[in-house]
Subunit: 456 residues, 2 copies
């Protein structure tokens, strides 16, 4: 291993892949609120959940055990790309002239190019073990659909991906990727579901939305006994699976005798933020002063501008009702390029932590984000995903603050994915067509008026 001050990347041997995920719920002073059923308006029952999820996933969703074993078969598959590298951004530091030491954990080294594979593999595993033959899911930008396609292929499950029609048409490469792994990719709205049919009857040219695609995938799962549904973020079990990111990063920081003063991660549904920060928050509950900052777009500022309340997880009101920071399920964020951050709500765990002042949040417009993305690409030689670039922006600003104050702090961020499928966004940036697309306060107010009345 290179000397502490001289390291570019910290590599862990595959024998050091964690054997357990960390469940932060065990340590939270206030636990996340329980989920409600969209059908009954009452607490969601195991039976209701079992229509679309395998029992093992439902148990993980509710467990308060601090550690959850990673199945051996999943750990074997993790070995194909995990542990992921921890980099020190030496070239970026030099360009900024900062005394801060900037580290990033890079989750884009697997075939699907993002952290999503960390949870799609265990989800496919538990469904396979439960005798399920097929998984249905939705995808917008395509990262989650890609990750689930690969996972289903590895566990010999069929996979149906309802892809928002506008993405299906605009991102043929993402579709081809899923086809390569044998998935059936359907443009949503489709004629395969009642929900899709009724929408197409009213509007044959409908280009779809994530809300519609979720409805189709859930309906597909609920109406086929051999089929389940899989979700790529938000829920507790997804955050749990992603903690492997932070657990590895902690080991890697220790190897070079480092510990972060502050951690940044972009935050849409919250799973990559959860992944990198929760294992460090474990220390915070014991007295560590580490700061964890969720970075979101100003176009969809869920934590920084939303309310903490029960809301539907999707626009079509079929997913569980969860207590979270939300802009309201009717809120439709502007079409920023960070598609993975365009979610009206947030993970119930992340929301509770924010509500309790344990974590912080910041929001950026996409111009500032792409400035950071291009500087990062040119110095560090990795083209970042627009989502991940929110964390880069915040890390750069923290490093510039350290430059002013002369502080030698250690900054860590999660580079959750690469941007090799996002060059349309970079083209827009370079041609000056990129706009900041702020959220509308009025739209949020109107949307928040439509929250369900739960627990009142």
């Amino acid at each position: 291993m290179a000397r502490k001050n001289d390291v570019t990347k910290v590599l862990l041997d595959e024998s050091e892949i964690p054997r357990q995920w960390y469940n932060i719920v065990a340590d939270m002073p206030n636990k996340p609120a329980p989920n409600y059923s969209p059908m009954t308006g009452k607490l969601a029952t195991l039976e209701e959940m079992e229509v679309i999820f395998p029992r093992e996933i439902i148990l993980q969703e509710g467990t308060t055990d601090r550690w959850v074993d990673i199945p051996q078969d999943v750990r074997e598959m993790y070995r194909q790309w995990r542990p992921t590298p921890l980099y020190r951004a030496r070239s970026l530091e030099k360009a900024l002239g900062t005394p801060a030491r900037i580290y990033y954990k890079y989750e884009g080294t697997n075939a699907t190019g993002s952290h999503k594979l960390n949870t799609s593999l265990p989800q496919a595993y538990y469904n396979k073990a439960a005798g399920i033959k097929r998984l249905a899911t939705e995808t917008g930008a395509g990262q989650w659909g890609s990750a689930l396609s690969l996972a289903c292929n590895r566990f010999d499950l069929e996979c149906t991906v309802y892809m928002v029609k506008v993405s299906y048409q605009q991102k043929p490469y993402r579709r081809s990727f899923m086809n390569t792994f044998g998935a059936n990719v359907v443009a949503s709205p489709s004629n395969l579901t009642n929900c899709g049919k009724s929408i197409l009857e009213k509007d044959p040219d409908c280009t779809g939305s994530l809300g519609i695609a979720i409805s189709e995938a859930v309906e597909d799962a609920a109406t086929h006994s051999d089929t389940n549904y899989a979700l790529g973020s938000v829920l507790n079990h997804v955050c749990l699976h992603q903690t492997i990111i932070g657990l590895e990063a902690k080991k890697q920081m220790e190897m070079i005798d480092e510990y972060p003063d502050v951690i940044f991660a972009c935050c849409g549904g919250g799973s990559n933020f959860a992944g990198i920060t929760f294992p460090f928050l474990m220390d915070k509950f014991k007295g560590s002063k580490v700061r964890a900052v969720a970075v979101e777009p100003t176009a969809c500022p869920t934590l920084t501008k939303g309310v903490f309340a029960y809301d539907y997880g999707d626009t079509a009101k079929v997913a569980p009702i969860t207590k979270m920071y939300t802009l309201g399920h009717d809120f439709v964020p502007a079409g920023i390029h960070a598609g993975g951050l365009r979610y009206h709500g947030d993970s119930p765990i992340v929301s509770q932590l924010y509500h309790d002042g344990i974590i912080e949040a910041q929001a950026y417009g996409q111009k500032a984000v792409f400035d950071a993305a291009v500087l990062f690409a040119r110095t560090e030689g990795i083209v970042p995903a627009p989502e991940s670039s929110h964390a880069i922006r915040a890390a750069i600003d923290e490093a510039l603050k350290a430059k002013e104050s002369g502080e030698e702090k250690a900054i860590l961020f999660c580079l959750s994915g690469h941007g090799y499928f996002d060059f349309t966004a970079y083209d827009n940036y370079f041609s000056g067509k990129l706009e900041d697309l702020e959220y509308s306060e009025e739209a949020v107010k109107a949307s928040i008026n439509n929250l369900p009345k739960i627990g009142e």
Copy 2:
């Protein structure tokens, strides 16, 4: 480090990045023949070469020293992604049911997605050190242009990339990639050069070719004193730089007490083949029985069907005349998806080694190649470049032979790049549109008739 039989990937610490490249010319029983000038038809002089290359590169082109120091600045930049991982293809082995152990060195982990960055960085470095302000080059599929763009950005050089017009139009993402790193990407033929202008006058709709793009880049370099030319394969110094691949792979194999019985690499201009095999051939000159097999497309079977003779390096007859296996500079291979293997000639060193029986060669049609690519993607979770998939095909066939004979041999191949910019090809494969596109014997015969008369 995991046990020998249980390893998935072998990682080297960055402190173990080689400090010298290996120059196989020192050990070759017959040295590669010297280059001739396309202008004079005589041996190329240092002065002629200096119009487009820096002196240090020209000296490397002719050196017989066994080891050449890697400049410290280049080694620093290598650290951003090197050493690259060596993987054991355990899932692929399982799918094949072979007793063979299959290893692959993966060169797609850097931003540009291929091994090309190994040589673009030192080439930019030597040009910068020589006071050059700008580099000009050509690119077809875009991998080399991407690698040179990034390298120029890191060494603060301007970069002009003449991109074959049909690729410029069909591969906007590759163009965006180069823009992200600040390169000026020009559709070729262009109005920036006399060569381009004269072609456009005759045919305003000309979609370009690699031969034309080379001519434009060389003319640009030759007519601007602050500008040099850079080439991404074929020449001796390029092969030299790529030996870092094999030097690392040797160390990694040693770490798990392994040594390959046979090595496969795809072969277009020859640099990735050179990179992975030359450090092992060093042992072969001392008695090792390791086999090195160059794998090429049946659409452009330079080694397996060409002649060993002096020929122009490009269709426009401006590049040095080299002695190599060639199908003739007039030969236009069919439009297979492995664009990087559509070169009529081959590295003079690789050619000499093949002529002397030190290495072997095989050719495959692209259907068989994509069969292998998809099997590899589904088992190993990396979507391979069409070029690299030639090596995969050959490795799989060797593993299947081992299954028949029951041999427990060790197979190594170079996965020179990923295929995330090649989904058009995969789409064609899945939709049954992919054809094998064999070469035409008559076209080769005709083309070989036009070889220059050198040294006769």
